[in-house]
């Protein structure tokens, strides 16, 4: 018997009332928003509940919205997968621009460990309670967070590429 999205939605609403909101079905994945301070409880509930059974954390990534409201400029997106009923969900947690902090889920799912380090490395989102939150892909000495929208793609110090030949001026890049 398939796990309906209405079941997921009502079960979450019953347990967490206002902490979960904005349920949408985008293509084939139910997407909803969770308050940042409740994420650990919601994820534990999703994993351990006997009907929901989301046993696998597929993916964890961050996003940056520089044009949004300052209390919702960063977000952490979790994809979870229920292997028994073959249902996927997507959870979004929005974080403020000043000091984006969220609880770690690496105690719930061990695969979140490096994924949270990668999100910290790229966006600067702090995961409270993470055993070893330091940079993973970039150089340890780096101070800025490269996936934020204001950070440029190319290395500023490159000497062999003349911007004039690429039509770039200070206005358009």
């Amino acid at each position: 018997m398939a796990l309906e999205t209405t079941t997921i939605q009502s079960s979450l609403n019953d347990h967490f009332e206002s902490a979960v909101s904005d349920f949408q079905q985008i293509h084939d994945i139910l997407t909803f928003e969770v308050d940042a301070d409740q994420i650990a409880k919601v994820m534990t509930f999703l994993r351990d509940d006997a009907t929901l059974r989301f046993n696998f954390l597929t993916d964890l990534c961050g996003m940056h919205f520089p044009d949004a409201d300052p209390s919702r400029q960063f977000s952490v997106v979790y994809h979870m997968h229920n292997w028994v009923d073959n249902v996927r969900i997507r959870i979004k947690c929005f974080l403020p621009a000043e000091n984006p902090t969220i609880d770690t889920v690496s105690t719930i799912f061990l695969s979140a460990n490096w994924q949270e380090r990668e999100t910290y490395d790229f966006f600067g989102i702090i995961f409270k309670g993470h055993p070893q939150l330091k940079r993973i892909l970039n150089m340890d000495e780096m101070v800025s967070f490269p996936m934020r929208k204001e950070f440029p793609l190319e290395d500023g110090g490159r000497t062999d590429k003349d911007d004039r030949f690429f039509g770039r001026t200070t206005d358009n890049c």
């Binding site: 985008i26 696998f56 490096w114 790229f122 996936m147």
Partner: protein, 411 residues
Amino acid sequence: MSDLLLPPELRYADIIEKRKNGDGSELSILNLGPTHPATHGIFQNILLMDGERIVEGEGTVGYIHRAFEKIAENRPFYQITPLTDRMNYCSSPINNMGWWMTLEKALNIEVPKRAQYLRVIVMELARIADHIICNSVLGVDTGALTGFLYVFQYREKIYEIYEEICGARLTTNMGRIGGFERDWSPLAFEKLNTLLEEFPPIWQEFENLLARNRIFMDRTIDVGPISAEKAISYGFTGPNLRAAGVDYDIRVMQPYSSYEDFEFDIPVGKSGDTYDRFCVRNAEVWESLKIIKQALAKLPEGPYHADVPDYYLPPKDEVYHNMEALIYHFKIVMGEVPVPVTEVYHPVEGGNGELGFYLVTDGSRTPYRLHFRRPCFIYYQAFNEMVKGQMLSDAIATLSSLNVIAGELDA
């Protein structure tokens, strides 16, 4: 200069000070450094050793971080395909097809059956190529060079088939949104049929060399085991998870590109050790050959691409002779096509597991965010746990059998 090569906090120095063995001997640190003949790509492991036995380890990655996700935010869709090639470069058609399928989901495009079957054939060829590398190099790392030399010849034959289809050997950049750029030539089918005849005896010979070989079994059984629960918690997918006993395969769980039309088994191991991973990959090559045979037998006639002139690059001879086709070509490559505002997550079964593409578009030429769920990155976390208490040479065998590809690890 050498401080740059060790992690910032030398916590092992404290541990060595404090912990001594009963007979007064000390632990030592070994740097299984980024450049090592037996690591498939560059990643570092700092190992705390008690003689020859590993007590603890810490991995450092990022030595080939090329910022794919950042680059993808600045490129229109067709220009992102060469990036996807270079993630798991041993089986690049799978990455390409996964990317096209993600876009087709986002743009709601239906791909004709013939193109879907051809995609299945090329993805299974790529899976065979990937497993050939992994298993033969596992042989090399345990000292058996012969298998590598025998089966690599057949990788060249697979490369010849890729060249007939798309022109490139390794980083294929194959396909278009909605199908393929040209129908496969009769020569490609001929080469494919020759491969299907000649390869099985060679693969059987390779299996015979190693699978019941006393030395190989001693080196790989009970080496680097992982239990199914731990593997699921660590996010394992693909052959590494199937070796631990869990039959999770996206081709069966969420079939894409007509995989549901084919009959194939999912080989599953028992204890998740290196030998099981080797055997699961061997068996998967046989299953892939089965799928290719079925696809060739049932291949329908029909168009090899969807009829979506807004997204499908027009054929090159029309581009050179027809003004409209030239304009469409320019618009599509530069990304000036209608893009809906949506977000899509599409997984495919890559050579190493669930390769997922999380695409968030905002209507502009380039994606707002493109995140690759890379299986190698996720399961490499478990390496240090898998080798705790094992010998150093077992660590090398485990690393080899995990099939960690540096391009996918760091992206």
